[in-house]
């Protein structure tokens, strides 16, 4: 079983559209692959919007703790104000019980130990949901973090672990994981233990800048990596620029997808663009998938 994570650094380069296309091509190709899809972009999970899933099971994700202050036990010493380094304790004046700002609370419990009255306790928080769904192209594991939630990295780990266990039992050959943007905590959680990474980038200064940062991050964790250039003809020198970078970094370019308005149309229609097989983007995705399967994936 191989897990391919699709990443981008910069948001909006087309990660989710590429992932949905790969899922469709791999599962509906000949020979079809036993495939499991994962949406690890738990902040803004959009893969489900293209795969039309039917949710079979949902479980609560309880992670991390938040301080709760019992005003009846508080006698207004306000030691908690001093103890908190995250501005999560709101002063309401001498003698009054402070308020805890749950969004700002880091969950460190410094206030708990500072309180002489034992008025503060740490309580586990519901931070999101894990979902197991069925799609026309195999199972989908996805998650939704409650807005403003902490621990997105842990939820990413949880959804991937759930998918890997189920994929192992079902004899899935491939897991395709739609990763989060950026290079920080959720990205680190999405690539830890995965087998290979596909980075979707786009021409231009911002795309190039963020490509470099995500490549460094993925290489820091030792994953084999390849690049897909999306919206490739947006700039005339777009392909040459990425080729230059890839050559310098010793990375292959597995796919080049042209600017194609059918991608946007298929997103609005909530279908993978590969369900319009004659569109320029779908043809390019078919080439990308063939190259990933034959030359890149372990």
């Amino acid at each position: 079983m191989t897990e391919l994570v699709v990443l981008s650094g910069k948001g909006g380069t087309g990660k989710t559209s590429v992932t949905a296309g790969l899922v469709h091509l791999a599962a509906a190709g000949s020979p079809p692959l036993q495939l499991t899809a994962v949406d690890a972009d738990v902040d803004a999970a959009n893969l489900a919007l293209l795969l039309d899933p039917e949710t079979e099971a949902e479980t609560e994700f309880i992670s991390g703790k938040v301080a709760h202050l019992d005003p009846d036990l508080c006698s207004g010493h306000r030691n908690c104000l001093q103890a908190c380094r995250f501005d999560a304790v709101i002063d309401r004046g001498a003698g009054a019980a402070p308020l805890i700002d749950e969004l700002a609370c880091e969950g460190c419990a410094a206030c708990v130990y500072a309180c002489p009255e034992g008025a503060i306790a740490m309580q586990p928080e519901l931070t999101g949901y894990l979902r197991q769904s069925r799609t026309a192209w195999g199972p989908l594991y996805h998650a939704a973090l409650l807005p403003g939630g902490e621990n997105s990295g842990k939820l990413v780990m949880a959804v991937r672990q759930m998918a890997r266990e189920a994929a192992g039992q079902a004899g899935s050959e491939l897991i395709v994981t739609d990763g989060p943007p950026g290079i920080g905590c959720p990205v680190v959680s999405a690539i830890t233990g995965a087998d290979a990474a596909l980075i979707v980038t786009e021409p231009g200064l911002a795309g190039a800048h963020d490509l470099e940062r995500i490549v460094q991050t993925v290489q820091h964790f030792g994953l084999p990596v390849t690049i897909c250039l999306n919206k490739a003809d947006l700039l005339p020198d777009g392909v040459a620029e990425v080729e230059r970078f890839a050559h310098g970094a010793g990375i292959s370019i597995a796919g080049v997808i042209p600017w194609d308005e059918e991608v946007l149309e298929s997103v609005v229609a909530r279908r993978p663009v590969t369900t319009r097989p004659d569109s320029p983007a779908a043809r390019a995705l078919a080439d990308l998938w063939a190259r990933l399967r034959d030359d890149f994936l372990p």
């Binding site: 981008s8 650094g9 910069k10 948001g11 909006g12 380069t13 902040d43 803004a44 959009n46 919007l49 703790k65 103890a83 380094r85 995250f86 969004l103 700002a104 880091e106 969950g107 460190c108 419990a109 410094a110 130990y113 500072a114 740490m122 973090l145 807005p147 403003g148 939630g149 997105s152 989060p180 943007p181 950026g182 290079i183 920080g184 905590c185 959720p186 990205v187 680190v188 959680s189 786009e202 021409p203 231009g204 200064l205 911002a206 795309g207 800048h209 963020d210 940062r213 460094q216 991050t217 820091h220 964790f221 919206k231 947006l234 700039l235 777009g238 600017w259 946007l264 997103v267 609005v268």
Partner: protein
């Protein structure tokens, strides 16, 4: 006014909007380098500098304080490991193991240690940079080092610094000049880095696009904005897909749409090359410069 520019979904045009908003505001004042600041809080993938071409005159390393254990004093009692909520300390029979990458810098271990064996040392996670730009606004940004996971301490460091102080820094600075407007370029998503970036803002400009992705992520970020009790307004970027559900949602949610930017390949090409939107579409300048007043009016209506 402190205006945060945010969007649940990445790539909707946050940085494009934020940089042009800052430039539009800068054109209204005589000394924009003092009075208009763009704060790039997308420390994982900062891009505002690509449009504003700053000359950085401030560069500071930032990171949370992490524990350092004095082995002479330590009695291996294990109290620090017991209280740490993040499993960043482990006490074995003969030594203390520190896992600094898990540490959030709360300081509880050093406070709780009965023999005062734990001191705190900074762990550098990234840098803060700031400087003037030829477009007028000053730019301040944080940059998370690649391979590091924790963006929030870098954002926090950026907010504390705000970079109004060319030179050495530290605590000896005179009162920094307070800018009239701070435009905050937020990271994508809806979780802790976004909340940290928005906290302290007075209004939020939500940038979205008329697709099911744009709408879904707008719904999520709107909930975050509601938690923080901030007045918000929407910019519809790449308008003209024929997806009407977005307008219907904004209507229901009471989110005014203050700007619509049509889909145009010229804008996509120009911004990819690093040209500020306001130079590609000069007609947007007045509407952008009027945004603080529109938010002030919204705040008065909403009473929040």
């Amino acid at each position: 006014m402190r205006i945060a520019v945010a969007s649940g979904k990445g790539g909707t045009g946050k940085t494009t909007l934020a940089t042009s908003l800052a430039i539009a505001l800068a054109r209204e004042v005589a000394d924009p380098g003092e009075r208009i600041l763009l704060r790039d809080c997308d420390v994982e993938t900062p891009n505002a500098h690509l449009y504003l071409e700053p000359r950085f005159d401030v560069r500071i390393e930032v990171g949370p304080p992490v524990p350092a254990v004095d082995e002479e004093l330590c009695t291996l009692c294990g109290r620090c490991a017991e209280v740490c909520e993040f499993n960043a300390i482990s006490v074995l029979d003969d030594q203390v193991l520190l896992f600094s990458d898990l540490c959030r810098g709360c300081g509880l271990c050093s406070t709780i240690c009965p023999v005062a064996a734990i001191s705190e040392v900074p762990r550098i996670l990234g840098i803060i940079e700031a400087g003037p730009t030829p477009f007028g606004p000053r730019l301040a940004r944080g940059v998370l080092h690649t391979g590091e996971a924790l963006a929030v301490p870098v954002i926090r460091g950026l907010k504390q610094w705000d970079a109004w102080s060319p030179g050495s820094g530290e605590d000896t600075l005179p009162d920094p000049p307070r800018p009239d407007h701070i435009v905050i370029d937020c990271p994508p998503g809806t979780t802790c880095p976004v909340v940290e970036s928005m906290r302290g803002a007075e209004a939020v400009l939500l940038v979205t696009e008329p697709t099911p992705f744009g709408l879904h992520d707008l719904e999520l970020i709107t909930e975050v904005v509601r938690f923080l009790h901030l007045p918000a307004a929407v910019v519809v970027n790449r308008d003209g897909t024929g997806f009407d559900d977005l307008d219907a949602f904004c209507d229901r949610a009471g989110l005014p749409i203050v700007l619509r930017i049509p889909f145009s390949r010229a804008i996509a090409e120009g911004t990819a090359r690093g040209r500020p939107l306001i130079e590609i579409e000069p007609g947007l300048a007045d509407e952008l410069a009027a945004l603080p007043e529109r938010f002030a009016a919204l705040g008065r209506e909403g009473g929040s």
